[in-house]
Symmetry: C2
Subunit: 464 residues, 2 copies
Amino acid sequence: MGETDPNTREPIDVEAILEALESGETEQIVAIAKEAHPGDVEVAFERLEDEDREQVLDQLPAEVLSAWADYLPASDVEHRLNTLPETERREVLESLSDDELVDFLQEVDEEDRGQYIQRLDEETRQISEDLLKYPEESAGGRMTKAMAVVPVGLTVKQALEVLESIREEAELLSRIYVVDEHRRILGKLRLRDLAFSKWDTEIAALMDSDQISVNALADQEEAAQMIARYDLMALPVVDDEGRLLGVITHDDALEILEEESTEDMERISGIGGQSDFAYLQTPAMTHFRRRFGWILTLAFLALSSGFVIHAYEAVLTNYYILALYLPMVVAAGGNTGAQSATMVIRAMSLGELDTREFWRVIWKEGRIGFLLGTLLGVCVALQIQFLMPPGMITGSLTPLSVAIVVGFSLMAQVLTSTLIGAALPIGAKKMRLDPAVVASPAITTVVDVSGSIIYFTLAGAIFR
Amino acid sequence: MGETDPNTREPIDVEAILEALESGETEQIVAIAKEAHPGDVEVAFERLEDEDREQVLDQLPAEVLSAWADYLPASDVEHRLNTLPETERREVLESLSDDELVDFLQEVDEEDRGQYIQRLDEETRQISEDLLKYPEESAGGRMTKAMAVVPVGLTVKQALEVLESIREEAELLSRIYVVDEHRRILGKLRLRDLAFSKWDTEIAALMDSDQISVNALADQEEAAQMIARYDLMALPVVDDEGRLLGVITHDDALEILEEESTEDMERISGIGGQSDFAYLQTPAMTHFRRRFGWILTLAFLALSSGFVIHAYEAVLTNYYILALYLPMVVAAGGNTGAQSATMVIRAMSLGELDTREFWRVIWKEGRIGFLLGTLLGVCVALQIQFLMPPGMITGSLTPLSVAIVVGFSLMAQVLTSTLIGAALPIGAKKMRLDPAVVASPAITTVVDVSGSIIYFTLAGAIFR
């Protein structure tokens, strides 16, 4: 993290907002609000308590709300909209860009959505309804229709005239799409190609005919990965006939990939569902609901481990030294399984790995697991043989026999856990499930059971 | 994942490359190479075995290598460079953009670096040496100097002339920076503002004076987060006096944030170090080295749990039914601790949370932990009271007494684990450590010990 620095822009001062609120200086809030970048407002809002947030919202003039709408949770925007007079409400909605408006409409309750749409002017309503046809998490659901399009056959002068007429609407004039009469993409132009060329040049001669595009029904993650892979500023979205429908821009890609990374991390730690809110904005009850499912499931699954230990009562009570190494054997499996699962899940998310590579992954993880297990087993066996506190190993047992049992159990446990950790997520993906869902929690439970069985069976066999 | 579709660009066919290799059709490889987008090549290379990769590399013409250099691991680029004749080697290096070249130089061995720099022409060498002064993971280490800069005071016509002369060098003409005589940023222009304005207009009248910038020594992650927060196409990088040094572009931000997410995920699962290579490209020995440290440490830390169980021999062997629920109590702590740690670490990474919010996080997680623990404790207590297989609970014990011990242990264990899981990462950040390093593995070990102590102490007290 960098230091605070006079040349670096500082986020908006949350303390100042809170102070202004406490002292009731509403003009102060409005003044801060007007100056602040919406990006900073987003950060400040993430840290405000619910009541404080509502108080700030209630002070916001309509034009500030328009500027902020894309950066605030839909419920906050809706809260403020509902307190505004009808005309201002419509002004705010119509001032939003088409993808911002659709994001908002996708997030509000379905009943309210119809009401908001009715209020829009004809053109905005048409565009919104078009965009709302696509699933929220598809490329179509994320695109904007505000891109620059010119028909092939124009000259530079004609193209510039077209662009000048749409310059304020189009999100990105830096990429201009050249289309045929069916609106299929023929190529793309940069504004600089037009600005620095002779006016009578045909645009077809200037365009780059590289045509990367994504289908409107493709997953938004696929679109974001294409933007990342090809370093694009915008990715055209097309229908099944290849007709240009809209574009997804680089800032959307960033947002999508951040959301997907968050989702993967949460799944890996056994957190279900999704939240559109920041951590502090999310009520404790919502956090609770997202976590309790796995906690309860895993608790009862852990009973199977308990049954294994319970079943080996004779072995454990006869050779109580086994209790000392039981947590180690079990934990080593959970830890190595979580490592290999995480590596494989992340590699699949980044597109580095596919289910076709199953056997190559198994071969790699097999070697890694063998190395990890062997070295760990040897280290612990040496500790038992040479560094055991006196009096711990009693009766018919020798340090060597314990070292052999623990060392070989660790080897077997680590090798199998590494393989299970790698195989389960790939298997899940093969069955079209989210690989991250079967990650750490499920793996830990499985290898807890297998570890206990390996350990007690080996001990029973060798000590007898 | 979307379906394969004629309109969506398909990644390069790895199988085709492999086949061409096997049959020795080198022209085929070169043909595929010339047509492929470097982004597709990156994906294909991630899946090729080391030997196959080297064979493909050996076929690459110099101009293809130039186009691909930024998408391939530095070691691959170096491998091919060293087999090229001196003049071609220099051509490839000089054809790279300044930030690509610096990325490459940062990754190669320090001895080799000097040799490569010597080969460059005067201007390129000067720029590289300038950029190499900044740490690899700083904003300065990631920036490019190829941006568009115009001095204030020009007219639109003069500015367009300046831009025309640098149009092919500048990475992004979409954002043009207006600077004063000390090269301090006064504002930014869009090419469209110039292209559609009268030639004699002063550019000062057209520019947007919003000046978001980042210090060259700031962490690259801070720069990437600013690009995300403010939806920027490029972020200017400045020195301590506020003079414009370069820019970081949106595609760098994407790359940086993906790297940081990967690093967080890996840390959370106890994987150390970093790898510049994709999963399959990384040799098993490297994977092994990144994982073994934590596995060994955690194994020996698990001994402390073992000592606790060992110390409570009398309680466990007298009331062997406790063995049945021991894994559940211990695992519930690890699972809830991992959940809260993940939530807090991710929120901090996304800038939603700061160390100042410590007590608000504790208050929130305390409530969540209390809810999780109570509900889990009640569910399990009910199972023990009403759904216990007959014959499991013997001697002086009743289902009720076991239900009370297990239920309250779960409550206490889940509540403390949730709090520990949230507190440790924030504490680590306060001490300027990476919060993710003290995540799941460390937390699991701590709560394994605390869980066993809670469980056996409570059982000892209630059963007596």
